[in-house]
Symmetry: C2
Subunit: 273 residues, 2 copies
């Protein structure tokens, strides 16, 4: 039997770290709860305490073994010790910070290869903020704020590549990023745009169903019916013309199937986790 790929879990940043911890708790449960091990990759962050903080949170949530893999140089990504850890854990959590620290230090190394391979075999991978941006094949490296798409307000770079079906943006409503997500889609409307508010996550199951968890909204921009994009003719700061986008704003418990592109609201009595 072909192994089922693991979940891919982008989080919009600033997820609850005290109180209910809906997102982190859900991820820990998904990985196996008290019976599981989770590796934390804090590479995106410049703050030395980031990894330890998540180690404590996951341990407090009852995870058997939560440990930091301290990757700070490309050479770290060749170390047998860390590759062995990635072979054993049930889940990996990528912290926030700067996504270019992830792509420049991990991209093209044995650790990147191992993460892709293990996710294909069933290991779950979550990332928050910069960690979320890095998950996909096409990563928003940086950009400008504002609700309208402008020709050059977004810079894309290759990411980890767990999926190429979606392009993720995070801190979405808090930093007014609809414009740059639309610009990213305007280049080539094959991917689906996912805008994640803070404390909001999309749990993407192996069957390509995404479920929303958290206190904010998840914005879906589906360009599959796009009739026109002006990106081939716009100049530097021009507004971009896009005709025929489909938009969904989803809250906790709502789902979206990335394959069929069908959205569904949460059942009336949604269980609050």
């Amino acid at each position: 039997m072909k192994p089922r790929r693991g979940y891919i879990v982008p989080v919009g940043g600033a997820e609850e770290k005290i109180g209910a911890l809906a997102i982190l708790r859900r991820f820990a449960d998904l990985c196996g709860g008290s019976n599981c091990s989770i590796a934390i990759i804090p590479t995106a962050s410049m703050q030395s305490e980031t990894g330890g903080r998540y180690e404590k949170i996951f341990t407090d949530l009852g995870v058997r073994d939560a440990r930091v893999i301290p990757i700070a140089h490309r050479a770290d990504c060749e170390k047998r010790e860390w590759l062995d850890v990635l072979d054993e854990v049930n889940g990996v959590f990528l912290t926030g910070g700067n996504q270019l620290r992830l792509s420049t230090m991990i991209g093209g190394t044995p650790v990147a290869k191992k993460l892709r391979l293990r996710n294909a075999e069933g290991m779950h991978v979550a990332g928050t903020s910069a960690g979320a941006a890095f998950l996909c094949e096409h990563m928003i490296a940086f950009g400008k704020e504002g609700a309208s798409p402008r020709a050059r307000n977004v810079t894309l770079a290759p990411g980890l590549g767990l999926t190429n079906r979606i392009i993720i943006d995070q801190h979405f409503r808090q930093r007014d990023r609809l414009g740059r997500l639309l610009t990213a889609l305007a280049y080539n409307p094959f991917a689906i745009g996912i805008g994640l508010d803070e404390d909001t996550a999309g749990f993407i199951a192996p069957d390509e169903t995404l479920e929303v968890v958290g206190s904010g909204a998840l914005t879906i921009v589906d360009p599959s019916g796009l009739e026109f994009s002006s990106m081939a003719r716009v100049r530097k700061n021009d507004a971009v013309c896009l005709i025929g986008l489909k938009l969904h704003i989803l809250d906790q418990g709502s789902t979206f199937n990335l394959h069929t592109r069908v959205a569904a609201a949460a059942p009336v009595i949604a269980k609050r986790v």
Copy 2:
């Protein structure tokens, strides 16, 4: 038996159109010569005669059936007529122009899907200039000239996605584009950079061996041994620091294996096609 993928053939632009026509002749032969059919997609070009010109060249080279698929709007990419043509032909040739016309008009449509599927089944796909840029998963949309990498001198966008192993730049020596290719690799050093001079092509076989055909050079930048990229910390127009790149300059008959990353010079008595 699993079908063998077709060749992927990026051409650096301005390939010989009178005389020996080494590249176009080689592509026609690869597709089956007098027994084959080739579809030409002139979508990148704004000039109405582009498609017809290649139709005539391929017909003069003895191709049984060379025909233009005139895609000028996204709606054209849904037409049964063109999808049927793509089901029958042995090869597809994408002309030059502006690669953003290709990604905005074809990206995410049934034609893009068909091109990927048929290439996986054995149909050969070549592209010149803009057509070459569009072939891969990560496409250089535009950028600035100059031999040194600068933080923001390149804009990447999703391409057709026949392979994600390489990032292509064209008119390479003629337009001094080493800098922008290096910048593209600096974001995430997993792909191999391929710089194509004019009248120069890389014929990438199903086994991932690339062979150089044409009168110019093909530049390979292999970042697999990269020790450091400063892309996570550079500002707008800063120079980018990259340590540990490998560089090969290949001429006609030389090969490079994209899987093993081994380059080999042409045999001493290279056959001139």
